[in-house]
C-alpha cells in the first residue's frame, strides 16, 4: 500500500509499452493502438512528462493510420477508419501541436457524414450508433475548429437525441431507452458542454446519482450495485467537475483508492488493487487524481480529457471546476 503517486515508475511503464512486440497480447490489441497512445501521452502530460515519448515518431505513426478510402484515421496502419480512432488521432496531434498535418476538409466531411437522421452519430459506415460517437464527433469538430459546421438543424438533432437518452435518474444511456451509465454520462454531459447546452442536464438529480457511485472502499462504480473501478474515477468526476459538484464525494477516500491500485513494482494503475495494470486505467486514474487536486500534477480539462492549458490556449475552455491543487508537502 502506497500513499503517493509513483510518477517516475508510471512514466517508465508507459515508455515500455511499445517494447512488447514479442508478446501475443501486444498484437491482439492493435485495434486499440492509437487510443493507447492517446491515453499514454495524455497521462504523461498530466504527470509533467510530455517529452517522455518521442514526438516525431508519434506523429508519423498517427499519420500512418490514415485511411485514404474513408478520409479519417484507423487505430493502426491498414485498419479501417472509425470515429473512436479518429478522435484519438486528432487529440494526439492537437497535444503535439501538429494539427496542420491533417486534411481538415476530408476529416470534417467524414465526421459530418456519420450523423444519422435521429441526430446521433454512427461510428463508421456500418452504422452502429451510440452517444459515445456523438461526443467523439463533437469533440473532434471542436478541436479542428469546425464546430460551426454542425449548425442549425444538425446541432438541434444531435442535442435532441442526447435528451432522449436522458433517464429519470438524471443520467444518460448509450441509446434511447438504455440504462444510465457513468461512461455515457461523461460523453453526454461533455458533448452538451461543448455545444453550450448544459441546461438540458437535471443537475441536482444527476449530481445525486453520481455522488452515490462512491462505495465504502472509496472507489467509484459506474452503475448502482456494481463493483468499483479506477476508470470511473474519471467518468464520474469529469461530469461532476462540469456540474461543479466534485465536492459531493470524499476526495481523500477516492485518492487513496486510486493510489492503492498502482503496481508499485512495475508501474501503471489497474482497475482495482491487485489486478493487472494497463495504460487505459493508468490514464484514467491519473486523470481522476488531477481533478481531485493531487499535488504536483497538471490540470486536466474534463470536457476534452486533455491538458487544460492546451485547451485554454486553443480558446476552447468551457466552464468546469476541479478541486484546488494541493501543495506538495
Amino acid at each position: 500500500m502506497t500513499s503517493e503517486l509513483l510518477i517516475p515508475l508510471h512514466v517508465k511503464y508507459i515508455q515500455s509499452l511499445d517494447n512488447h512486440k514479442d508478446d501475443l497480447a501486444y498484437h491482439l490489441t492493435t485495434h486499440l493502438r492509437i487510443n493507447g497512445i492517446y491515453w499514454g501521452l495524455t497521462s504523461l502530460c498530466i504527470m509533467g512528462h510530455q517529452d517522455a515519448l518521442p514526438r516525431e515518431e508519434m506523429i508519423d505513426f498517427v499519420m500512418s493510420c490514415w485511411d485514404e478510402k474513408a478520409g479519417a484515421f484507423g487505430p493502426h496502419p491498414d485498419h479501417d477508419a472509425h470515429l473512436l480512432s479518429t478522435l484519438s488521432a486528432i487529440q494526439i496531434l492537437a497535444t503535439q501541436k501538429a494539427l496542420d498535418r491533417i486534411d481538415v476538409k476530408r476529416v470534417t466531411d467524414f465526421l459530418l457524414s456519420l450523423q444519422t437522421a435521429s441526430g446521433v452519430f454512427a461510428g463508421d459506415r456500418f452504422g452502429e450508433t451510440d452517444t459515445r460517437f456523438t461526443y467523439c464527433a463533437v469533440n473532434a469538430l471542436s478541436l479542428l475548429g469546425q464546430l460551426g459546421k454542425l449548425e442549425g438543424d444538425r446541432k438541434e438533432r444531435a442535442i435532441e437525441h442526447i435528451k432522449q437518452c436522458r433517464n429519470f435518474d438524471g443520467g444518460f444511456g448509450s441509446s434511447v431507452g438504455a440504462e444510465s451509465h457513468a461512461g455515457q454520462i461523461f460523453v453526454c454531459v461533455a458533448a452538451l458542454a461543448i455545444l453550450d447546452r448544459l441546461e438540458e442536464v437535471d443537475v441536482p438529480t444527476l449530481a445525486w446519482w453520481l455522488s452515490e457511485r462512491q462505495l465504502p472502499n472509496g472507489g467509484l462504480n459506474g452503475r448502482p450495485e456494481k463493483l468499483e473501478d479506477v476508470c470511473y474515477s474519471f467518468w464520474v468526476l469529469s461530469a461532476m467537475a462540469i456540474l461543479d459538484k466534485v465536492t459531493w464525494i470524499d476526495a481523500e477516500k477516492l485518492t487513496s483508492f486510486i493510489l492503492s491500485a498502482q503496481d508499485t513494482e512495475g508501474g501503471g494503475i489497474a482497475d482495482r488493487p491487485g489486478d493487472m495494470v494497463d495504460v487505459f486505467h493508468t490514464h484514467f486514474g491519473v486523470a481522476g487524481l488531477s481533478l481531485l487536486g493531487y499535488p504536483g500534477l497538471e490540470d486536466l480539462d474534463p470536457v476534452y480529457c486533455m491538458p487544460a492549458k492546451l485547451i485554454e490556449e486553443m480558446g476552447l475552455r468551457k466552464q468546469w471546476t476541479a478541486l484546488e491543487r494541493r501543495k506538495l508537502p
Binding site: H27, S211, A270
Partner: protein
C-alpha cells in the same frame, strides 16, 4: 484489462511463457498479414471468408476484419447466392457470433455483427421473408435471454434486447416485457437494470392506457416495498422508488410513502437510504404542499435534522447534505 489478477512472474517464467507463445504469435502474425493483404486487394472469395473466421476466432475484437467479412459477404458471396442460401449463411453467422459472445459477452463488435446479419435477411421474398424474419428474431430474443441469464446486468444484452423487441415483426408486447422484468427482479432485487427497464415499460403501458396508472402504481409501491424490506441498504429499489414518486404530484401518496419509510427507519435506524429518501420526499412536500407557516417550519426542521444525521452516518457525501441544508 478488467478483473485480471496481477501475478509476479520470475524472469525464467516470463521467458518460458514467451517461448511457448512464439509459435502461436508467428501464426497469428502471418494470418493477420495474409488477411490484411487480401482485404487491401479486395479479395472477396470463400477462401478469404474462411481466413477471416480463423482470424476472428483468435481475436474477435479485430473490428476491421468484421468489416472485411461483411464486405466479402455483400460483394463476393451474396450476389451469386439464392435468397434462401443467403438466409442460411446469415444464420450460420449468428451461431458463430453466439459462440464468440459466450467467451466475450461485452465486445461491441460482436453484438454489432449480429445486428448487421439480422438487417441483411433478403427483403424481396414476400411471405418467405416474413417467415425468416419471424424465426430469426424469435431465436434472437431467446439468445439474448440466455446472455442475461449468465449476467443479468450486461448492458450490451439489455440494449440488444430492446433493439430486438423494437425490430421483430409483430411487435413484442410491453405486457410481456413487464412480466420478464418481474421475473428478473424477483430472482434478484438488486438488479437495477431490470428496474430501469421496468420504468420504460410501465411508462409506455400507462401512456397507451393499457394499464390503469393509479392502480398499477399502487402495485409497484407494494413490490418495491418488499424489496426495500429485504435489503434496505441496496440502492436499486430506492432509486426505483424515487422514480415512482417522481415530482411528488400526489400529496396522499407522498405522505403514505413517507410513513412507510419512517416505519422502516425505526427498524433500521442507521440506514442512510431511509433518511436520504425521507429528506428528499419531505422537501417535495415542502415545495408543493405546505398549507401554512407552521407546517413549513416543521418540515424545514425535519429536513435539517435528517441532513445533520446524514452528515454523520454518510460522511463521504457530507458536502452534499450541507448544500441541501441551505434553505
Amino acid at each position: 484489462m478488467h478483473g485480471v489478477r496481477r501475478a509476479r512472474q520470475t524472469q525464467e517464467a516470463i521467458a518460458a511463457q514467451k517461448l511457448k507463445e512464439k509459435e502461436k504469435l508467428q501464426e497469428y502474425l502471418s494470418l493477420t498479414n495474409d488477411v490484411l493483404h487480401r482485404k487491401k486487394t479486395n479479395d472477396f472469395t470463400q477462401e478469404a471468408l474462411a481466413l477471416t473466421t480463423r482470424l476472428l476466432t483468435a481475436n474477435p475484437e479485430f473490428y476491421s476484419i468484421w468489416n472485411y467479412r461483411r464486405d466479402i459477404l455483400t460483394e463476393g458471396i451474396f450476389p451469386q447466392t439464392s435468397a434462401k442460401d443467403v438466409n442460411d449463411i446469415l444464420l450460420a453467422e449468428l451461431s458463430l457470433t453466439m459462440s464468440f459472445l459466450r467467451s466475450h459477452p461485452k465486445v461491441y463488435w460482436i453484438w454489432n455483427h449480429r445486428r448487421w446479419c439480422l438487417e441483411h435477411v433478403p427483403d424481396d421474398q414476400g411471405q418467405q421473408t416474413i417467415a425468416w424474419k419471424q424465426e430469426n428474431w424469435s431465436k434472437e430474443l431467446y439468445a439474448v435471454e440466455k446472455m442475461l441469464d449468465a449476467d443479468a446486468r450486461n448492458f450490451h444484452a439489455w440494449n440488444y434486447r430492446r433493439y430486438v423487441q423494437a425490430s421483430m415483426p409483430g411487435k413484442y408486447s410491453d405486457a410481456d416485457e413487464l412480466k420478464y422484468t418481474t421475473k428478473k427482479i424477483e430472482s434478484n432485487f438488486s438488479n437495477f437494470s431490470a428496474w430501469h427497464q421496468r420504468t420504460k415499460v410501465l411508462s409506455s403501458l400507462w401512456e397507451t392506457g393499457t394499464l390503469d396508472m393509479a392502480a398499477s402504481k399502487d402495485e409497484e409501491f407494494e413490490l418495491v416495498k418488499q424489496a426495500l424490506y429485504v435489503d434496505p441498504y441496496d440502492q436499486s429499489s430506492w432509486i426505483y422508488h424515487r422514480w415512482l414518486i417522481g415530482k411528488g404530484e400526489d400529496e396522499g401518496i407522498l405522505k403514505r410513502e413517507i410513513q412507510v419509510i419512517e416505519e422502516l427507519s425505526e427498524v433500521e435506524p442507521d440506514c442512510k437510504w431511509c433518511l436520504e429518501s425521507l429528506c428528499h420526499y419531505k422537501r417535495l412536500l415542502l415545495a408543493s404542499f405546505t398549507h401554512n407557516e407552521d407546517q413549513r417550519i416543521a418540515l424545514v426542521d425535519a429536513c435539517q435534522s435528517l441532513l445533520s444525521r446524514l452528515q454523520s452516518i454518510d460522511p463521504y457525501r457530507r458536502n452534499r447534505y450541507l448544500e441541501l441544508g441551505e434553505f
